[in-house]
C-alpha cells in the first residue's frame, strides 16, 4: 500500500487526482465519523462538512508538514470546519443560541429503551453531547471515537495538555449526569 507521504507528494508534484482520491478513501470514514459525533448525529451536515474538509485539505496540502500524522492534520481541519459552521449557525440564529442549553427537563429526559440499544444509547449520547461545549464535544469524540491519546488531542486541537484533561473531566461529569438513566440497577 502506498504511504500517505507518497500520495501527498504525487498530488503536489503532478496534481494527481487519483492519488488524492486514494487519500480521501483512506480517511473518509474517520473524518465523517468524527464530524457526525461533533454534529451530535446530524449525518447530512457532517457529510457536507466532511466534503468541505477534504476540499480544504486539497487546497492546503502544500502546508502539510510530514512530521505530524496526516490523520491528526485532517482532524484539525475537520474541527475548524465544525467550529466555523457553529459560528455561522450562531450568527443566523442569534437569539436562539442558548436554546439547547436551557432545555426543559422533559426534553432532557433520556430514552432508556434497551430494546433498541445500542441505537437508543447512540441517540441518547448524541443528545447528551449537545449539552457539551464545542471543545468538550471535540475532546470526547477524539478520545472515545478516534481512540486518540490526550497528547494526540492536544496536538490536534492545539490545546495545552492540561486543558484537554480539564475538558474531558468536565465533559464526563456532564455526560454522567445526563446519562444517569443508563446506570444499571
Amino acid at each position: 500500500m502506498i504511504s500517505d507521504i507518497d500520495l501527498i507528494t504525487r498530488v503536489l508534484a503532478r496534481d494527481d487526482r487519483h492519488a488524492f482520491a486514494t487519500l480521501v478513501r483512506r480517511y473518509q470514514s474517520q473524518v465523517r465519523t468524527l464530524l457526525r459525533r461533533l454534529c451530535a448525529g446530524d449525518k447530512a451536515l457532517a457529510d457536507d462538512l466532511a466534503q468541505e474538509v477534504f476540499l480544504r485539505a486539497y487546497r492546503g496540502l502544500a502546508g502539510y508538514r510530514g512530521g505530524a500524522k496526516f490523520s491528526a492534520w485532517i482532524y484539525r481541519i475537520a474541527y475548524h470546519a465544525f467550529l466555523n459552521d457553529k459560528r455561522r449557525q450562531r450568527h443566523r440564529e442569534q437569539p436562539m443560541g442558548e436554546a439547547t442549553h436551557t432545555a426543559t427537563t422533559a426534553e432532557a429526559a433520556m430514552v432508556c429503551d434497551t430494546s433498541v440499544a445500542p441505537g437508543g444509547l447512540r441517540r441518547d449520547i448524541d443528545q447528551a453531547m449537545t449539552y457539551l461545549s464545542e471543545h468538550e464535544r471535540a475532546v470526547m469524540a477524539l478520545a472515545y471515537g478516534m481512540e486518540a491519546t490526550h497528547e494526540d488531542i492536544a496536538g490536534i486541537l492545539e490545546f495545552p495538555l492540561g486543558t484537554v484533561k480539564t475538558h474531558i473531566s468536565r465533559a464526563k461529569d456532564k455526560l454522567r449526569r445526563r446519562l444517569h438513566a443508563w446506570r444499571p440497577a
Partner: protein
Amino acid sequence: MNNHHTPQGPSHGPDQWFEDLLHQAYGNSTKETTMQQSRPTPPTGDVPAAELENPVYLLDDGFAAGVVQQLPPPRGQRRRVRLWALALATVAGMAIAALLFPLDGVYQAMQQADFFADAAAKLAWLREQTAQLSPAGITTLLGISTLSLGLASFWAIEAKR
C-alpha cells in the same frame, strides 16, 4: 497506549458503568445502526486493513468521487483557459483599436513617413500621431493597455501558484 489514553483509564470503580457506556457507544464493540455493519471489500486496497476491521467503518459510497468532482480544474487546464482568455482579450483590444483608429489610414501614414526604413522617422511619426490623438483616444488606448497589462500580470501570478 499510555496512561493519558482516556478509553483505557481505570477499569473499575463506581463509575465503571459510565466508562462501559461510552465504550459501548463509541468504541469498537459497538455496531451502530446508522453505520455499515457488513465488512466492506476494499476495491483498490487503498484502505488499511485495520481500519476496515473497525465495526464503525463507513463505506465510501461515492463520497471520494463526490469530493474529487468538486476539486478545481487541473493546473494545466487552468493555464490553457487563461491563455485562451488572454488571447481573446488581446484580439478584442485590437478590434476595438481598429474600430477607433482605421488601420488603412494608419498603414498609409506609416508608408508615407517611411516608417519601415528609418527608426528616427518612426519616433517622429509616433510623436506626431500621438499629438493628433484626441483626449478620448488617448484615454481609450491607455485603458486598453492598462487592462491588458493587469490581466496578463494576474494570469501570470495565478499560473505560478
